[in-house]
Symmetry: C2
Subunit: 343 residues, 2 copies
């Protein structure tokens, strides 16, 4: 299996995040991607390719123009005010407040386009976002060109980014942009299977009213787990999207037996949708030792995930999302890939 990877992710480093009343070094750090890259080399998964540059045309179909235009400017505008550290917002347009008037101040606009304090910027963040976007699309192009499956080793991740909001370490929704790009190349239907521990709230929100992109999400119950405000079982899509969104919220402590039942059900729904291509949002924060998560998958479970997805028999783009037990992230993420290859 080919991997696409850009070293430019490393410029997105040293940023803080807001977590439970404290500013902490973000759990989403450069070593995550490097552990995975190293493991790919160790097991000899296949070639690691650099991304080609892509324009933002497909991104502009899943993200608002104002939002996309803001992202490249955040750090420079923040620094122009004499600020350092991590650019972060401190107020958000929640219910009862206006969502139709973008304010002008950079920290206000950052809040206007966010839902948390987990999408900070440092000097290299935009270049990393763009390289992650290019990584996903380069991998999508390889799948479109006939590859059975390709791994987009994206960093930063994307599945918490919605049409006009960032958050949860995510800025551009790489999986959503790739799905859109594949549609733009002629795929009639695309399924996104999100197996990250956290609900892919951005991906759901982007496609909630569309019938051409099916979204299936396996995740911790948002009543008790971040991102909290989306991901319930009764969210089935609206309008043309009605029936094309499926959530599988699961309780803390979920291990392979229950989790794999949800995967089985999701795969059955996916197959029934008869997509032309599958985009997998791969998070391995379902791992029992993940520092911020509470599921109990073990290292031996991850190859089984890959085998099950391979059994769908469809062209498959695997996009990296979360996973924070940095020492094991390489083994577990690449375990999914080798499991796919072994199928």
């Amino acid at each position: 299996m080919k991997t696409v990877f850009s070293p430019k992710h490393a410029g997105h480093a040293g940023n803080l995040e807001l977590l439970a009343g404290e500013m902490l070094p973000a759990f989403e750090m450069p070593s995550r991607a490097e552990f995975i890259r190293g493991r790919i080399e160790t097991v000899g998964l296949g070639p690691i390719l650099a991304p080609e540059p892509f324009d933002l045309a497909s991104a502009g179909k899943v993200h608002d123009a104002g939002y996309l235009n803001f992202l490249p400017t955040v750090w420079d505008r923040w620094a122009a005010e004499g600020r350092g550290g991590t650019a972060l917002p401190f107020a958000w347009p929640t219910r009862g407040l206006r969502g139709d008037v973008p304010p002008q101040a950079v920290e206000a606009l950052h809040g206007y386009y966010s839902f948390d304090g987990g999408a900070g910027f440092v000097a290299g963040t935009w270049e990393a976002i763009k390289s992650s976007h290019d990584t996903a699309l380069t991998a999508a192009a390889l799948v479109n060109g006939g590859e059975r499956a390709v791994f987009a080793l994206c960093r930063p991740p994307g599945h918490h980014a919605g049409s006009s909001f960032m958050g949860g370490y995510c800025y551009v929704n790489n999986a959503a942009v790739a799905a859109q790009w594949l549609r733009d190349q002629g795929a009639g239907r695309v399924s996104i299977l999100d197996i990250d521990y956290h609900h892919g709230n951005g991906t759901q929100q982007i496609f909630y009213r569309r019938g051409d992109v099916q979204v299936l999400n396996l995740h911790a119950d948002p009543m008790v787990e971040y991102p909290f405000f989306l991901g319930h079982a009764d969210e089935r899509g609206e309008g043309e999207g009605e029936g094309f969104n499926h959530n599988y919220p699961m309780p803390f402590g979920t291990a392979w037996e229950r989790w794999s039942e949800a995967l089985e059900d999701a795969c059955a729904r996916l197959a029934a949708f008869t997509p032309d291509v599958v985009v997998v949002s791969l998070g391995v924060d379902t791992f029992e030792k993940d520092p911020i998560s509470k599921f109990r998958l073990v290292t031996e479970d991850f190859p089984k995930i890959g085998r099950r997805i391979a059994a769908l028999g469809l062209p498959t783009l695997i996009v990296m999302e979360g996973g924070y037990a940095v020492e094991e992230i390489g083994v577990n993420a690449v375990g999914v890939l080798t499991g796919f290859e072994d199928a």
Copy 2:
């Protein structure tokens, strides 16, 4: 002029706030109230009375039940999870996310009921909130009993608290609850004149669809100043509230000449509404040396504000809101009160 004041505010101390990418000691600190209390004694404004306890019946008419029930529980639930420091949320239900399903985790519910990271809890916070609420209602009862004007030295402040959101150092909207209580006692119409530097977004949101409570707000332009997402000039009220909300957003650097023109216009609108009673949300963060604000009112301006409000010739409840240049806050806040008395 009588003042109502509770020493219980002092239990709300040592809390941090999220501000521009950092967690900092909250600018809203106990010394604010003590400087004002001391100045009242120095100038011999009048007696300082302790608040009587009031139930939350009127509060329950301006705040959602789920929100009001949550406030007394925040610190205990936070501490029960083994956490210390300041209880604060880290994700918010912005547009595209659900506002109809309160999550269960305390930090999630805190975000569900907030719009920023500026309404933290420590052990004494709820008792301070309740004493601030009681302070406003005790002062309102004195006005209702025939006093010309009474000062409610509230801390924490209230005008950023909406029907189901806290933020900006505010939890229960003391001015809104007092206006509601005065309505409940038989006042036909109440005007709230908010002269804090920041837009009283909570007060506006609470009364936006009501015609019995007029809301007038003088403040820094929300395009560039906190709280950012409400307070524009085109917000005039909706439904039965149409025409009863008036915003006066003003640019950074606004000094007395321009500010007093807005006050004059607001007073004319207020008089035309012919309210039975006026509630003033008094912030003195319009002061030129305020550490977080950018207007240029000087100490000599504050008595002029009091004189102008007194000239309305209406029963007046003055509720303390913001003001953060702690050494001068006493002189400026009490300057408004002595100006009122001198009129």
